[in-house]
Every structure is written in C-alpha cells, then in structure tokens.
C-alpha cells in the first residue's frame, strides 16, 4: 500500500470542503433575490414609446372582415403599474416581444378573438405549468371543437391588470381572491353563478367572506378544469364533497356530521357508486350522488324552511325522479345520513343490536358443541378397546351402544 503524507490528506480534505461549500452556497442564496433572473431580463423601464400611442383612451381601430368590430388599443398605465406584472417592473416588450415598430405591428388577424387567441400563447413563456394544465381543460377542448369563446388566460386574468391571487408567504388564496373567482366565472357562466350565489356556500362566501366554503375552483379545479358532465365526474363527485364534509376541523364549527360519506357508502346507492368509481369510473349510472339530492350549485341548507331536505316533501321529490311511484313513506327508506340509534331509526338499531348478540351468542356455542362432538368421537375412536366391539353393536365410527 502507498503511504500518503498527512499534509496531502489535509489538503485533500480542505479542497473537498471548499467544493462542497461552493456548491451549497448558491442554492441557499437563490430564494433571497426578489425577482428571478428570467424576469429581470424582461424589465425595461422605457415603455414611453409604446405608451405614446397606447395610453390614449380613444385609441380604437376597426377590424374584422367587414371592419365592423371596434377594438380598443388603450392600456391604462396606472392600472398596469398596480398589476402583478407592473409591480415587478415587467415592460411592454417583456410580453409583446419582437413586434415590428410600424402601425399594426405587422399583425394580420380576422377578428378580435383571433388576435386574442394568438396573443394568449405569450403567457406560456413564463407560466408553462398553468398553460399545460389548461390544455387538458374543458375550455381547451371546447376551443378545439370550434367554440372559440371558451375561456383563455386573459379572459379570467385580464391582459394588463393581472392581479396577485395567492399570498406568496402561505401559498394560499387571498380571501378576496375566493370572492373574485365566482365573479370571474360568472362572466360566462352567469346562470350557474346565480344558483351558486344563493346557495349555502355562495351566501357564506359572498356575504360572510367565509374561507371554509368552496369557491368554484375548489370543486372544478383551476386551469385543468374538468368536464363536469362526464360519467367519471359524476362517480367522482361524492369524494369531492367528502374532501370538506369528512373533515371535522371544518364541519365541527357548523355542527355538520362528518359521517355523511360513510352513511352514504353504507346504503345501496352509495355502495354501488363507490364500487363503480373505483373499478369502472366511466360507467353511466343513475344511482344518485350527493348533488342529485342536495343540488349541484344551488345547494341549500338541509334545514331551509322552503327547500331543505329535512322536509319530507322536498326529499320525496328527489326520490320520485327515479322512483316515480314512491309515496310519502318512501323517503324514510333512506336513513338521511343518520347512524341508527334508539332515537333515529330504532327498528334498524334494535335489529342490529339483536344480531350483535345473536350471532356470537348462538353460533359460537354451536361451533363449540360441534368441536366437542368431534373431540368426543376422536377420543372414543382411539381409546376404545377392540374386544368391546363384539359386545356392542358394531358401528362405523366405533361408538358403543348399551342394551
């Protein structure tokens, strides 16, 4: 073996530590910088050339095949300054890069929407993840099917007034964002918004600024918004509601049971839906899910004096959608998410109680008797002297019979 001088060893160790220190240091340093380097390159404080034209509120042009569509080219610089992009100092050409300086910037477009759709790809330069998610959304599918009005980035976020929606410290949505979201979706989905606005969730959010209730994206997702009319969405939906409704941290505040999923799954409909959801998620089934009784967007408090499901007539109407001949007794066939007790559904409770004692109380002794019988037969077989066979009746299992 080659002998290594101690000095070389120390020098080698020092070099190693130095390399290690250098390689760790930049990783620690990165988060401290306010603006990522990629965005720094976009900053150009000199937007004056652009604004010379575009800050004029009356800067309109007419476009389209028949030149009937008026397009405002006005950008309010003060509003942009207060947008999330303005705050970090992104300049016009940060997004609108490579535009030709002449009037019209060398752009050819048939309509306003066509222009917007083309410009929309700019967002992906920085927001790749969100853009990719959106490509799998119901909106992207609608656009691919020719419905060009389906939402794109700027339809929700605006182009020049993009607001910060999440608290950078916690990564959570601002309370104001949660209220802003339904108002944004409402721009297209106005009838659904009306239903939501008057639902138990919508009222709590809009009037009470309650952070516990779901806003649109809590159920539908954000960017990767799924088609809610598919069989899969239907089968998945109970788990969607269960996200909050099985969480005691939220439900205990309002005295709402967290057993709603268990009790649903324990019944005919819930059992079937959960098995299909797990093994054939694309199955079409009319077995009810949460929203068939509680409403899709117009979810009401079950104790609501007009629409609440605790009023039997209201529940009956839901039953009759699939069981048209059901009468007033029928809704009680559903345990209403209750776990049977002496107060609620005593028949079910006492039958359960009976079997809880009956099964071990009767079947266990029976099993013991059977085992004892078998044991005794074995004992007889191996302890019986052979000579006795002549005296007693001969039997196949060697048992004796006194006469």
């Amino acid at each position: 073996m080659i002998r290594i001088h101690p000095f070389i060893k120390i020098a080698g160790l020092a070099t190693l530590l130095l390399i290690l220190g250098v390689s760790i240091h930049p990783v620690k340093a990165a988060p401290t910088s306010q603006v990522p380097t990629a965005q720094k390159a976009l900053i150009n404080p000199d937007d004056s050339a652009c604004l010379a034209c575009h800050q004029n509120p009356n800067f309109n042009i007419t476009i389209g095949i028949q030149q009937k569509e008026t397009l405002s080219l006005f950008v309010d610089p003060s509003k942009f300054q207060h947008s999330v992009h303005g705050e970090i100092g992104i300049s016009c050409i940060g997004c609108h890069e490579g535009f030709k300086p002449e009037a019209g910037h060398g752009m050819v477009y048939g309509s306003h929407r066509e222009l917007t759709l083309r410009m929309n790809t700019i967002c992906a330069n920085c927001h790749q993840k969100q853009s990719d998610q959106e490509k799998d959304s119901v909106h992207a599918a609608a656009r691919a099917a020719g419905k060009l009005e389906a939402a794109i980035c700027t339809d929700c976020h605006t182009a020049h007034e993009v607001q910060r929606l999440k608290d950078p410290k916690t990564g959570q949505l601002f309370p104001t964002t949660r209220i802003w979201i339904p108002l944004t979706c409402q721009k297209c989905h106005s009838t659904i918004y009306e239903k939501y606005r008057n639902s138990v969730h919508g009222i709590a959010l809009t009037d009470g600024n309650n952070p516990d209730v779901p806003t649109c994206i809590d159920c539908h997702g954000v960017h990767i918004i799924e088609d809610p009319t598919t069989a899969k969405f239907r089968l998945d939906s109970p788990m969607l509601c269960a996200k909050c409704h099985t969480n005691p941290a939220i439900m205990d505040k309002y005295g709402i049971s967290t057993q709603v999923l268990n009790t649903y799954v324990a019944d005919f409909h819930g059992t079937t839906v959960t098995i299909f959801e797990k093994l054939s998620p694309d199955s079409v089934t009319n077995k009810p899910v949460c929203y068939d009784c509680h409403g899709v967007h117009d979810i009401t408090n079950v104790n609501d004096p007009q629409k609440g499901l605790t009023i039997k007539q209201n529940l009956l109407k839901k039953c009759q959608r699939c069981h048209p001949n059901a009468n007033t007794n029928f809704p009680d066939a559903w345990l209403s998410h209750y776990i049977p007790s002496p107060q609620k559904y005593p028949i079910v409770y006492y039958i359960n109680l009976f079997y809880t004692f009956f099964i071990p109380g009767i079947l266990l002794p029976m099993a013991v008797l059977v085992l004892m019988d078998f044991g005794r037969a074995m004992v007889n077989k191996f302890t019986k002297p052979h000579s006795k066979k002549k005296i007693f009746y001969h039997t196949s299992d060697g048992e004796d019979h006194h006469e």
């Binding site: 007794n329 079947l363 019988d373 004992v379 006194h402």
Partner: protein, 241 residues
C-alpha cells in the same frame, strides 16, 4: 318405486324409508337455490372486499348478479310455498306427521348429549326418527329462510311495501336480510355440514333411506318402535308424513 329398492341390495340388511321423493326434491331445490343466493348475495354484502368489488364492478355485472339472485329467490319462494302448502294440506287431512315438532324429549336428549360431550355419560341419547340436532336444523333453516324471503321481498319491492308500511322497514329489512344471510350460511356450514358430512356421511336426503345399522345406532328409539310393528307396515310409504 320405493318397493324396488330393497331388491337391489344384495345383503339381507333391510333399509328403512326416511324421506319420500317429494322431500328429496325439495331438499335438492333448496340446496341449489340457497347456494346460488349465497354466492350472488355475499358479494353484495362484502362490498369492501376486492373480489366482490371486482364481481360487481360494472352496471352490467351488477344487473346480472341481481337477476340471478332474483331468479334463485323465486325458486326458493315457490319451494317454500309448496312446502307450507303441503303441510297445510296434510294438516287438513289430519295426515301431518308430528315427528318434526320439538318436544320435551328433545330438551332431555340435548341435556343428555351435553353430559355425553362433557364425558359425564358414556352413552349417547336414544333418538326417535328425528333427533334434536336435526329438528334444530329444520327449524333454524325454516324460520331463517322465512325471514330471508320476507325481508328480501321488502327490499326487492320497496315502493309496494312503503305504500302500507313506514319507510324505515326498508333499511331494517336490508340489515336483516344481509345479517340473517350470514347466520344461515354459517349455521349450515358449521352445524348442518358437520352432522351430515363429518360426524357421519348421511346421504338419506338423497337416497331416501337409512340402513338398518344406521337406524339401530342413530335412531334406536324409532328402530325399536318400528320393529314392534309388522315389517309390512314399515315399508308403507304413508308411514312418513
């Protein structure tokens, strides 16, 4: 038909009629329908287990399972109606045998048997035509299946039954149906199967007859009673209910 049987036997050992053809057919139908009902019903009960979820994984499969279950249920119901109808008919003609009703003797026999099992007695009880174990089997199955049929019909036709009864009977019937099914299954597996397969192989429900040896050992009181009569009477089919 029954007269031919003794000629087949080469040995001089006599056999004794136990179950007539109708009863053997009834048992056969019961075995087939109950097995199908259990096999198609248990996956619906044990929905947490992966194999039952696999069996019921699509709406189509679920429907097939339910239809098979319903067809087997109809067979069982018809068999039960025949069984009860026949009993009522025999009762009206005063021909219903009382042999299968529980008596005080059965309680005494059970006590005796318990002493035997605890090694307190050396001899087993001397049984009549049906021993207490067989009567327990009959009545547990009879009452259990009656409950299964009633509760099953309630959950099969919930709209019809809630026209007359409160809605709460649907979940009650559902609970009873699935739990009683477990009781019946476990009971048949441990009690009935032990006594007819393991304790001794008793095929009289298929052959209709018991050998003289079996009669002497397992139904000695009945054997003695029969041998007090003339042998002609024994082979008369009307001797049984």
């Amino acid at each position: 038909m029954t007269d031919k049987k003794p000629q087949v036997q080469i040995q001089q050992e006599r056999t004794y009629p136990r179950f007539d053809l109708g009863q053997r057919w009834e048992h056969g139908l019961l075995v087939i329908s109950a097995t199908v009902l259990m096999l198609t019903g248990l996956p619906q009960k044990f929905r947490d287990l992966s194999w039952s979820q696999y069996l019921l994984s699509t709406p189509h499969r679920l429907e097939i399972f339910q239809q098979i279950h319903h067809i087997a249920a109809l067979v069982l119901i018809l068999e039960a109606l025949y069984h009860i109808g026949k009993a009522i008919y025999q009762l009206s003609k005063r021909k219903l045998s009382a042999e299968f009703f529980p008596t005080m003797q059965d309680v005494k026999d059970a006590g005796h048997m318990l002493q035997y099992l605890f090694f307190l007695r050396k001899d087993k009880p001397k049984y009549g035509k049906y021993n207490f174990e067989q009567k327990v089997t009959y009545w547990v199955v009879f009452l259990g299946f009656l409950l299964m049929i009633i509760s099953g019909l309630i959950i099969w036709f919930p709209i019809f039954f809630t026209d007359y009864l409160p809605g709460g009977i649907i979940p009650a019937a559902k609970l009873m149906h699935s739990t009683e099914a477990m009781v019946a299954t476990i009971f048949i597996l441990i009690w009935h199967f032990y006594h007819v397969h393991i304790e001794r192989l008793n095929l009289s429900i298929f052959t209709g007859r018991l050998s003289e040896k079996e009669m002497k050992v397992y139904h000695s009181r009945e054997y003695e009673r029969l041998n007090r009569k003339s042998s002609k009477e024994i082979n008369k089919p009307g001797d049984r209910k």
